[in-house]
């Protein structure tokens, strides 16, 4: 009987819209639970992290300058691409040890959450802006803007596709650029998702992904002076100690740091989405102008 040798995927970093190996040449072995084999993923270095910051800065500028309507359409397109790649996303999750049924349910939730966030793009400013009735002859308006470059450290060890989209999308929907430190236990799912991102028309650099050891990468993004914010989820591979030292490092450039416990959220529920996830990564700008003849 003829047997066909499957073609294996090479899992690389995702920086500036390109899939690249770590400049360090290092790799990390991750077990594949469905085959019993292992996958070698790139183990990103400090230099990769720096490249990701440069990319994210450009991505943020390109993305934030798009209209909210277009950002919404591109995120919806991301959901379309994810729908088309359901099988591949499910496979990635089963490789991490999740049953096929669980994987299918998770992928459905992740796609629906993407649709949810697509709809937010042109509503954030409506809900968070105000014209302020100042006591004087001035027009005064406040509106939200993206914070800039945000490092996201999503939960690890749970429903890593669902938690990935649930933490990354609220960051980017407003126009931020993101650097994602992928879940260490299941980096494959993140990279497969990046293939969806790469074909969604999202500008290069909006989402950048570093795979590797979180104990190495989290301090690097926490210290980087061109990263404006840090969204850190305590889970299997980020303990309280790592989270605390990252918070200390983040103070050096007054990063907006949020440390939350992945266990505190019911990720499948509607409570795990919405404006309160978007709001921490915004800055409010107030503009004054005199009114008169």
């Amino acid at each position: 009987m003829d047997t066909r040798l499957p073609v294996e995927k090479t899992y690389k970093l995702f920086i500036k819209g390109e899939f690249v190996r770590s400049e360090s040449g290092r790799a990390l072995a991750v077990p594949n639970e469905s085959t019993g084999g292992i996958t070698q993923v790139s183990r990103a270095s400090r230099k990769d992290a720096r490249e990701a910051v440069i990319a994210a800065k450009a991505g943020w500028h390109a993305w934030a300058s798009k209209t909210a309507y277009l950002r919404g359409q591109i995120l919806y397109r991301l959901a379309e691409v994810m729908e088309g790649r359901r099988a591949e996303l499910c496979e990635a999750r089963t490789q991490a040890g999740v049953s096929s049924d669980e994987a299918r349910e998770e992928v459905d939730l992740a796609i629906d959450r993407t649709v949810h966030y697509a709809g937010w793009a042109d509503k954030i400013s409506i809900l968070l802006s105000s014209t302020n009735p100042v006591a004087g002859p001035h027009f005064n308006v406040t509106s939200p803007e993206p914070t800039g470059v945000v490092a996201v450290v999503p939960p690890d060890g749970g429903a890593t596709l669902l938690t990935l989209v649930s933490t990354v999308l609220p960051v980017i929907v407003s126009g931020n650029g993101a650097i994602v430190v992928a879940p260490e236990r299941d980096p494959r799912t993140t990279i497969v998702w990046c293939e969806c991102v790469a074909t969604s028309d999202m500008p290069a650099g909006v989402v950048n992904v570093l795979t590797g050891l979180r104990s190495e990468l989290v301090p690097q993004v926490a210290k980087h002076m061109d990263i404006h914010a840090l969204d850190l989820w305590k889970s299997d591979t980020v303990d309280a100690e790592l989270a605390k030292s990252a918070s200390v490092d983040g103070a050096e450039n007054v990063k907006r740091v949020k440390v939350r416990d992945a266990q505190s959220v019911d990720w499948a529920s509607d409570d795990a989405q919405g404006l309160s996830f978007i709001e921490p990564w915004l800055e409010l700008k107030t503009v004054w102008h005199p009114v008169g003849l």
């Binding site: 809900l127 105000s130 302020n132 009735p133 100042v134 006591a135 004087g136 001035h138 005064n140 406040t142 914070t147 404006h228 309280a240 989270a243 605390k244 030292s245 918070s247 200390v248 983040g250 103070a251 050096e252 450039n253 007054v254 907006r256 740091v257 440390v259 939350r260 505190s264 959220v265 409570d271 795990a272 919405g274 404006l275 309160s276 996830f277 709001e279 800055e283 409010l284 700008k285 107030t286 503009v287 004054w288 102008h289 005199p290």
Partner: protein
Amino acid sequence: MASKELATVTQGTALRPPKHGWQYAPSPEGTDHFKLKPRYELFIGGKWVEPQSGKYFKTINPATETVIAEVAEASAEDVDRAVRAARAAYDTVWSRMRASERAKYIYRIARRIQERSRELAVVESLDGGKPIKESRDVDLPLAAAHFFHYAGWADKLAYAIPGRRARPLGVAGQVIPWNFPLLMAAWKLAPALACGNTVVLKPAETTPLTALLLAEILEECELPPGVVNIVTGAGVTGGAVVNHPDVNKVAFTGSTGVGKRIQRDLAGSNKKLTLELGGKAANIVFADAAIDQAVEGIINGIYFNQGHVCCAGSRLLVEESAHDTLVRKLTRRIENLRVGDPLDKNTDVGAINSRMQLEKIQELVAAGVSEGCMIHQSHAQLPSKGFFFAPTFFTGVSQSHRIAQEEIFGPVLSVITFRTPEEAVEKANNTHYGLSAGIWTDKAAKVFWMAKRMRAGVVWANTFNKFDATSPFGGFKESGFGREGGRAGLMPYLNAEGV
């Protein structure tokens, strides 16, 4: 004598001030309508209590260097007492009270501030050195307005965050600066109280008096004991407030250096933090601007409150073709600024807040000179006593000069040129700070094009240094996070998250 000089000038050919400025008859604000105590204790649990250490420090009038009063220095034990009083008031009274009743207390505070505004304004100028016309016309009305605005929010919090539940955080520890002492107390207390939190407030060590008078007002308003506690002292006291384990929320306004330290100290705690820190604002003037209005805006932007303003327009970015005109006008305009007695109703620029601050300004101005920038200084005669600094600006400044990078927090402006709007954006944003920016142009489309590109929390277009209780204030980048004013000002004091 003054009238003779005036006559000479009006008969002259131009309305140009004499070389050493106009002469004015003194017009001091009276100080006989109130009496300060020689010594102030700590305000804890609704009582005036002596500090456990028995230590007091002196607060002086920076315009005369004379002692005004002695003020208690709170130790960590005193702060602990204050936090316990705040916790008890939170648990038993304030978080349980009907929101509409909470509102009424805050409205009372607003009214009492208005009633005692003249006294508060004079004490503010005595203790801090700011001109009485600013205390009277800016600080006091804004402080009262802030309480009035937030009072009304207390029973409308559900409307502020639709779809989410608004809950108070608990005990707030607040540390405020010396440049707008009473106003900063108002900015901190009003939203905290409206949201149902109780407070331990630490005023700045050089300007504690108006916060202590505010404590008297809170007593008069019959605010339940412990809802607001005021602990005076310096950095050690502030550190004890922000690091106290039973504080749920920390709000700090002050230098970026101290802000970073607080952020580090709070890492790993569950305390909610907001910071309002330093700035190095660009005030950008295009050649198509109404230049005389821009000159007034520049003067207000940097010399208001002696330049002790975090959002001061301390970097003037001027389009190259307008540079010479603008510099000529500024040179003349600063000669007309009256520098001197803060209590004089004609004074434009009062006393520098402290000797330490004066020395910092002197050091940075010396750095500007030694780095080769050209100094332009008013010929105003400075009083022989007290801490004063003549209005100053530098031309020939490039972005790498210290005076273009560091926050001087004094009446010192750096003039930098640009050729294109893109270059103006690049230079304006070339700073770690991001608190405010100014834009002067007669083209509306250019205003919005520029405003969108400013990485700053407050953008003043064809105006500068305007504040309002309904208008959110706060920074981007290293100027901090969180907003004060309006709906946004509630968020730092609410637990409004789905998580």
